[in-house]
C-alpha cells in the first residue's frame, strides 16, 4: 500500500442557496487580474442548465477526461505532436463569455439632458464597447431555460414525462451546483501537460500549475472534463483553482469555504491507496462509485495508520484524517458522491444530492402528496433521480436513492424528536429502511445543521518546516531565505 493524504471536500447541495458569495470571494482574491477576468475558479451554476463554460459536461464536444482504457480523450502522446499547433477540442472565449466592465466616467461626464445617463459596457479584452451576449451565469435560476437548461447533458436518458416533470410551469424546479477544481486523484490536466507544468502535491494532493513551466500548449484546458483549468490569454499561461493553498498552509479554510453563507462546505483529509488509482479508474461505469470509494482508507484502522507512518505521513495528518468531516460524509455515511465519476479523473470533491420538492399529484381539485409508502416521494421528487444519477453517480440510481433515503429518514427522525408530528416508531422504521442507526442520524444531523467552523474545516498542519528540512539545514534556511525574489507575471515580449 502506498498511503497518501488528500485534502478533500464535500458540498452539501441541499444547503446551497445559490448566493454566489463563494464565487466573489475567489474572484476578489485570485482572478481579477488582466487575462483572468473571464475565469471563475469557483462558479455556481443552476441545474438543470448548460453551465459554465457552456455545456462543459458534453464530452462529445470537449473530449475531456479518460476513456475506460486509460487513455486521455483529448490527446495522446502521439496525437499531441500534431495537435500542439492547433488543439481540436480547445474551447474558445465564446464558450465562456467575453468579460466586460463599464465606463463609469460616462455617468459623470454625460451632458445634462432629459434622460438618465448610462454607462456602456466595455470589453476587458479589447477595451472597446461591446454588446453583452452572455455572462458566466446567463441561465441563473433557469433564466432562458428553453435555450439553456433544455440542452443539459444530464437530461440524456430521461423520459419525456420526466423532462416535463422538470420544466412544467408552476412546478419548475432547480438546484445549485457550486463547482471548483476537484483536485482529482487521476487528474487529466496533469497527464495532458506536455511541459509537465501541472502536478499534484504529494503532501496534500492539491493540483497546481507551475506558472514558470507552462508554455501555453494549453492541453490541460480540453483535457479537464470539468473545464477547471483556464487559459490566461494575457500572460500566455494556464491557471486553475489552487484550493487557496497559502491559506490552507496557514490553517485557514479556502476563501470560498470561509465565505460560504449556506455553510454547505466541508473540508478534511482523506487517506487513500495511491497504488490502486489506475485500477479503480478503469472499472466499468456502474462500479466506479464503489471503486472510487474503496480507494479511501479507514484512518482508524491500525494497519492503515502503520502504513501511513511507513509512508512518512506526519502524525498530525493522520489525526486530521480521523477528524475529517469528509470521511464521514463520503465513506461512513455514503451520503456524498463525486460528480461525473464516469469522466474517470477520480474527483475528490463530493456532493450530497439535494432533496427536491415533492411532486404533488392532482387528485380531483386538491393537490395531494401524501402517500402510504414513506419513501415514495423520493421517486416522485421533482428532480428525477435519473437526472441526479447522471450528474453524481454515472447513471447509478441506487446510489442517489440511498443518499436521499438516508437524508429523508434523518429529517423525519429529527421531526419526531423536535416537532413530534411523526411518531417515534415510524421514524425508527424509516432509519432502519435507510440503513441508518439512531446514533448515525444524530451525527448526520449535528454535522449537517449545527457544525462549527472547526468541525466543518479540519485542516491538517502544513508542515512546511519538514519540507525545508528535507532540502536544507533549517537554521541556514532561516538565515538565508527571507522572502526570496519575486518576478511579476508579465507577458513575454
Amino acid at each position: 500500500m502506498n498511503i497518501r493524504a488528500q485534502i478533500s471536500v464535500v458540498f452539501h447541495l441541499d444547503k446551497c442557496l445559490g448566493c454566489h458569495t463563494c464565487s466573489l470571494a475567489c474572484k476578489n482574491i485570485w482572478t481579477d487580474r488582466p487575462g483572468t477576468e473571464y475565469m471563475w475558479w469557483n462558479n455556481v451554476e443552476t441545474k438543470p442548465g448548460a453551465g459554465y463554460p457552456s455545456l462543459w459536461e458534453d464530452q462529445q464536444k470537449y473530449k475531456g477526461g479518460w476513456d475506460a482504457g486509460g487513455k486521455l480523450k483529448s490527446t495522446s502522446k502521439s496525437r499531441i505532436v500534431a495537435n500542439i499547433f492547433h488543439h481540436p477540442s480547445m474551447p474558445t472565449m465564446d464558450d465562456y463569455y467575453e468579460p466586460w466592465t463599464y465606463d463609469y466616467q460616462e455617468l459623470f461626464n454625460a451632458p445634462e439632458g432629459a434622460d438618465q445617463p448610462t454607462a456602456r459596457p466595455i470589453s476587458l479584452v479589447t477595451g472597446k464597447h461591446i454588446d453583452i451576449e452572455a455572462g458566466p451565469n446567463w441561465d441563473d435560476d433557469l433564466g432562458g431555460s428553453p435555450i439553456y437548461a433544455a440542452h443539459d447533458p444530464n437530461l440524456a436518458g430521461l423520459t419525456a414525462q420526466q423532462r416535463q416533470q422538470l420544466f412544467a410551469v408552476e412546478q419548475l424546479v432547480f438546484f445549485y451546483l457550486p463547482r471548483i477544481c476537484n483536485h482529482c486523484l487521476n487528474p487529466a490536466c496533469v497527464a495532458a501537460c506536455p511541459s509537465a507544468a501541472l502536478y499534484k502535491r504529494g503532501e496534500d494532493g492539491i493540483v497546481l500549475l507551475d506558472q514558470k513551466r507552462c508554455r501555453a500548449w494549453r492541453a490541460c484546458v480540453p483535457a479537464c472534463p470539468y473545464k477547471k483549468s483556464y487559459y490566461n490569454w494575457s500572460t500566455g499561461k494556464s491557471e486553475k483553482c489552487i484550493l487557496c493553498f497559502p491559506r490552507i498552509e496557514t490553517g485557514q479554510a479556502p476563501a470560498c469555504f470561509h465565505a460560504c453563507v449556506g455553510r454547505i462546505r466541508y473540508l478534511g483529509v482523506l487517506l487513500y491507496d495511491a497504488d490502486r488509482i489506475r485500477e479503480a479508474a478503469a472499472r466499468p461505469n456502474d462500479e466506479l462509485i464503489d471503486a472510487h470509494r474503496s480507494l479511501i482508507l479507514d484512518p482508524f484502522d491500525p494497519e492503515v495508520i502503520a502504513g501511513a507512518r511507513k509512508c512518512n505521513m506526519p502524525e498530525s495528518t493522520i489525526a486530521a484524517a480521523q477528524k475529517s468531516p469528509v470521511y464521514q460524509y463520503v465513506k461512513v455515511w455514503k451520503l456524498a458522491l463525486p460528480p461525473h465519476v464516469e469522466f474517470r479523473t477520480l474527483p475528490m470533491l463530493f456532493y450530497v444530492p439535494p432533496m427536491a420538492p415533492v411532486m404533488a399529484a392532482r387528485q380531483g381539485d386538491a393537490l395531494n402528496h401524501v402517500s402510504q409508502d414513506l419513501f415514495h416521494d423520493i421517486e416522485q421528487a421533482r428532480v428525477p433521480i435519473a437526472y441526479l444519477a447522471n450528474l453524481l453517480a454515472a447513471g447509478n440510481e441506487s446510489k442517489i436513492g440511498y443518499a436521499l433515503r438516508k437524508q429523508k429518514a434523518v429529517r423525519w427522525y429529527r421531526r419526531a424528536q423536535t416537532v413530534g408530528d411523526v411518531d417515534a416508531q415510524t421514524a425508527l422504521r424509516m432509519l432502519r429502511e435507510a440503513d441508518c442507526s439512531a446514533e448515525e442520524a444524530d451525527a448526520i444531523y449535528r454535522l449537517t445543521a449545527l457544525s462549527t467552523f472547526e468541525e466543518r474545516f479540519v485542516i491538517p498542519a502544513g508542515h512546511r518546516e519538514l519540507g525545508v528540512e528535507a532540502l536544507q539545514d533549517p537554521l541556514k534556511h532561516k538565515q538565508q531565505a527571507g522572502f526570496g525574489f519575486i518576478a511579476g507575471p508579465r507577458r513575454g515580449l
Partner: protein, 227 residues
C-alpha cells in the same frame, strides 16, 4: 550584386557573430531569470475559426524548410550527390518549394488573423508585428529565391554552407556569398537579423518544445524535498 567591402564585412561577418552571440546570451539569460516569459502565447482561446488554417500550414511549412536547411548544413556533400541526377533534384526542389509556399500561406493567414480580429489585435505587441514582418520577408524572399534562382538546393550546399561553416570555424570567409543574387543575400542577412532578435520575441517557444512528454509517466507528484 557587389557591395562595398566594408558593408560586406559588416553584413556577412559582423552581423552573424553579433546576432548569434546575442541570441545565445539573451536566450539563456531569459531562460534563467525570466522563465515566466517563455510561452508560445497561444491565442486559440480568442480566435478559433481561422486558427487552424494559419497555425498548421505555417508550422508544418516552416519546420520542414528549417529541417531542410539543417540537413544541407550538416551533410552538404550528400545533398550535392543527391542533386547529381536531374529527377532527384526536381523532387527535392519541388518539395522544398511546396513547404516554403505552405509556410508563406500560413504566415499570411496568421497575419491576416491578427489584423482583422479586434481581440487578436489586443494581444499583438509591437514586437509581434516586427517578428511577423521579418518572418514574412524571410519566407517570401526564400520562395522568390527558390523560384527565380535555380537551383537553390545546389548552391546552398555548394556556396552558403561553406560560408556558414567558415563562420563556425571562426575563420569567416564571405567570399562567394557576396556574389549571390540580391534576393539570396537579403534572405541571408534577414536570417541573421531574425536570429539576433529571436530572444526578444515570442519565437523563444521553439527552445522549450516539450520532448520529454513523449516518454514521461502520465501523472506527476511533487513532494517537498526528494522522495
Amino acid at each position: 550584386m557587389n557591395l562595398p567591402l566594408y558593408l560586406d564585412r559588416a553584413l556577412f561577418v559582423g552581423l552573424p557573430y553579433a546576432a548569434i552571440s546575442v541570441c545565445l546570451i539573451v536566450s539563456l539569460q531569459r531562460y534563467g531569470w525570466r522563465m515566466f516569459t517563455y510561452s508560445s502565447l497561444s491565442s486559440q482561446l480568442l480566435e478559433n475559426r481561422t486558427h487552424f488554417w494559419a497555425m498548421v500550414p505555417f508550422h508544418y511549412g516552416i519546420l520542414a524548410v528549417l529541417l531542410g536547411h539543417l540537413i544541407g548544413f550538416s551533410v552538404p556533400r550528400a545533398v550535392l550527390a543527391w542533386n547529381g541526377r536531374p529527377l532527384r533534384l526536381y523532387v527535392l526542389e519541388a518539395a522544398a518549394l511546396s513547404f516554403g509556399v505552405l509556410a508563406l500561406i500560413g504566415l499570411a493567414a496568421l497575419i491576416n488573423r491578427r489584423l482583422t480580429n479586434a481581440k487578436m489585435r489586443a494581444v499583438t505587441s509591437a514586437m509581434d508585428w516586427l517578428t511577423f514582418a521579418l518572418l514574412l520577408f524571410q519566407a517570401a524572399s526564400g520562395v522568390y529565391v527558390a523560384v527565380f534562382t535555380p537551383w537553390g538546393s545546389t548552391w546552398y550546399a555548394a556556396v552558403v554552407v561553406p560560408y556558414l561553416w567558415s563562420l563556425f570555424g571562426l575563420n569567416p570567409d564571405a567570399g562567394v556569398v557576396t556574389q549571390l543574387p540580391l534576393a539570396a543575400q537579403l534572405h541571408i542577412v534577414n536570417a541573421f537579423i531574425l536570429i539576433g532578435l529571436f530572444p526578444f520575441t515570442r519565437l523563444v517557444h521553439i527552445l522549450v518544445v516539450p520532448n520529454p512528454y513523449l516518454w514521461r509517466r502520465p501523472q506527476i507528484v511533487r513532494w517537498y524535498g526528494s522522495r
